[in-house]
Symmetry: C2
Subunit: 335 residues, 2 copies
Amino acid sequence: MTRTAQEWHLAARPVGRPVTGDFRLVDGELPAPGEGEVLVRNTFLSLDPYMRALMGSDLPDMPVYRLGRAMTGGAVGEVAESRAAGLAPGDLVLSDLGWRTAAVAPGSAFTKLRRVGGVPDSAFLGVLGMPGLSAYAGLTDVAKLREGQTVFVSGAAGAVGSLAGQIAGLLGAKAVIGSAGSAEKVEYLVDELGFTSAFNYKDGEVRTLLRRAAPTGIEVYFDNVGGEHLEAAIHALNNGGRAALCGAVSGYNDQLSAPGPRNMIELIRKRLTLRGFEVADHAHLRPRFADEVGRWLAEGKIRFRETVGEGIGNAVDSFVGLLDGRNIGKMVVRV
Amino acid sequence: MTRTAQEWHLAARPVGRPVTGDFRLVDGELPAPGEGEVLVRNTFLSLDPYMRALMGSDLPDMPVYRLGRAMTGGAVGEVAESRAAGLAPGDLVLSDLGWRTAAVAPGSAFTKLRRVGGVPDSAFLGVLGMPGLSAYAGLTDVAKLREGQTVFVSGAAGAVGSLAGQIAGLLGAKAVIGSAGSAEKVEYLVDELGFTSAFNYKDGEVRTLLRRAAPTGIEVYFDNVGGEHLEAAIHALNNGGRAALCGAVSGYNDQLSAPGPRNMIELIRKRLTLRGFEVADHAHLRPRFADEVGRWLAEGKIRFRETVGEGIGNAVDSFVGLLDGRNIGKMVVRV
């Protein structure tokens, strides 16, 4: 029996915007699973902005993908062969062995999933997965959102942002403002996702657009973008306001990190808190998240869209599209 | 009986570094104190970096000194005439009616002080006053310093910084690193104040100097400077680190606010918290502060220096000197 797989390898560290030549799609053969190991065929791969940082970094201490090796990332798949206890052929599993069609690894590398009626398997990479928990943890643990407050979410049409905005409303925010990069996305935020208002950040200065959307300021900022958005949010935050820094997609392609907010002094004058976070530190929230967000999902109170790239061969193009903001909602690849 | 006073008025909003022509020393006559009022003759005036921001700002919402009026600021003085209950001639009082030789105001504008043996009256503008409480609150309430952690203090030879460094050590920090702007100040920090190490930020890149002083990184940053120091501290902070932002003297003279840290993305990767604060929000700490810091002072465990400008006429020159970093420790004017 031959076990073939295709894997995306990082061939060179991208300079600025990644190009096709930075990657290589490699055909290979997998070994038979050894004792305790499993062969999983991936069905959906997750594409996430943080992966750009792992491709190469100005910051010498930060981890990066190794050259000439398969990249990693979230993936949902089905067990094809198992020599591991608790995993059987046909089981749906989650792993970090994305960017490939199949993988052999110890059973401990996979988390068994229970399918949810009416929800596609790819949701375990989105609303029910890391992006959903990021949105939930950022609003609750990090930004300490309280009822009646005004929230601004940047990158609001993305996987995390679209959930952060909806969850903020469900947690009792008075108003939820979103920014996105096209008129179509702005319409999506307001008409489909129920944001109080939204703006296209390409229509002018973010500071002005945000001021117009939130004339009395904001209490919480959920940052997926960094750069000019962060500066504008610092300006709009009221005394005691909090920003949860989840991502900075605007800076991921910059060779030299972009200049930071010019108005850091407002942090002092308005007693603001900026706090960066990683979802891994908030795993303790997972049961509450699964309960609460699972219920909202079942009740139809949370809506989500996905942008699906078709075929492993499209993963790099889809990833560049993600960095360019061509996705609405979670970006995945159907293998 | 004539009651004369000299007051510094703001004549024009300074552009960049303040110059003499932005101010006017005005001779005037004070009214007799009315019912409930007091005439106080100031003995010491406080000069603080925050005053630069009040002289003029790029941020349209922020309060500023009014033109053609006496500026305000901390002052220690003695009651000369009183028609207010609880205040008698000769009483030592604290007020915000600085930048002048004398003032008539309601008794409620003054806080009666109890002299501390061996400590000059001007200490109520420094170690026992707002700068001392700022240092204490920033380390405890804001940065949540814990025993065994490494602390970096910028502007460490200044009024707040010199106390923050010493208090950090007394609170159990493993190591306290300070930065200052001259070799003399660096020597003062290490030899007199007991900092673990210190560097002159003019000797090179702050990032490099800090890395050398703290090769395994820092857990807490007490920021009095902003700008390049903040960027370097963000780089040096270990996972979960906290920065208490107390002041940003490096930016006070900038017409356009200086570019912020280029490495904001490290906030996310290392789950850092930056929190601005104002001492006024931490008044609840005052009793604990008075107990603990008062005791350390009495035990000789806290040392402090002052830079004293002589005479009301020198206040503006002294203030510009403060912005230029010519002071060691708290900058005051002896009226």
